[in-house]
Symmetry: C2
Subunit: 195 residues, 2 copies
Amino acid sequence: MPRALEFDYETSLDRATRLFWKSGYAGTSLRDLLKGMGIGESSFYNTHKSKKHAYLECLKHYNETVNRKRAEAFFIAPTAALGIRALFKTVLDCLDDPNTPSLVCLMAGSLTHEVLDEPELRQYVEERMTLLADAMIARMSADKQAGVLEEKLDPHLVVPVIITYLQGIWRMALVFYERSRFEGQIDVFLTGLGL
Amino acid sequence: MPRALEFDYETSLDRATRLFWKSGYAGTSLRDLLKGMGIGESSFYNTHKSKKHAYLECLKHYNETVNRKRAEAFFIAPTAALGIRALFKTVLDCLDDPNTPSLVCLMAGSLTHEVLDEPELRQYVEERMTLLADAMIARMSADKQAGVLEEKLDPHLVVPVIITYLQGIWRMALVFYERSRFEGQIDVFLTGLGL
DNA sequence: GACTAGTTGTAGCACCTGCTACAGAATGGA
DNA sequence: TCCATTCTGTAGCAGGTGCTACAACTAGTC
């Protein structure tokens, strides 16, 4: 091994993730990235095939850190219903956190032409969203069998509704955000669904 | 009047709108616009101060045509509840229409940093969204007074929930769209709210 | 100490971005 | 017919884009 990397890959990736998170894929130029990551073009292209691939790595990193915590909040809760409420709470906490780079989740922010038009990125986003949906569906089904959840509730129908609403929240927050209002609206939404 | 415009302003604006609608603000270059509109840079900058202002004009044009029909569907319906269902139907019809340039409403697609960071654009989007919300709230309040709508339903809480869900739909459609599934989900969502 | 394999900084490529300057063309009124 | 006024096409600017070529550097191996 003739020469070691002069920068820490993990921290540079974390910085890149925050940059993409803040301004989106197209809104973050390569120069912005390099400056934020603290490396030069050579180092960048030695570790990332292209800007697109770097973005994909950032998406993965984001899922393994930020979204992982959200998923945990869901799974730790004693019931699916409480888990979903916990999940929404993490979203509001994120919106409130002054440390958060942006009012859109990086994954939710990837639901745009510019990202979805790239097959590799699209595939990953689709994959991740189905993964989340399937996990929620499984959890709710288990609750139903255990008798904790109303029998008439169809997880295959309710879960997509929840995810859709979640996406809506990330968009609305960009325009109007006020915690108490959002809390009230989420409550109306979830109790309506019977959760 | 020394010389008349050689192109029709309205049709050129309509074409521009469809281009922005298809690929978003940043995704549509000035060259794309000119080509699609069938005019040269001189003509463009004689009628539009800048690309940003042209986008604003397109947003207005979109609201006066596409969104106007949606609003009409809402107001024509005998009750607010039916109006909201009619509104959702127009959205699904739009998603199904092969003539539709994109699976995101131009207004919903404007809920991005790139657009919202421009003060003039942001102001217009905010204004339009509050306008729609207020109209829906007023309609629901009237229905409540008339005894057509459940008393316990709070329009100021329910309407934002509906709009949030609407935004979510426009995002989810980019990833997974299937009419029958969406119909089922919308029904679960609205009946949950008591509509 | 030479060799080799890897990393780094610099300079620059070809292309695209929104936008402008300017000459030429077309039309009305005097 | 000349003028003024407006429109249009062309050419090009200054700056930004993602990316690459290349020389210099750094380390471990022989």
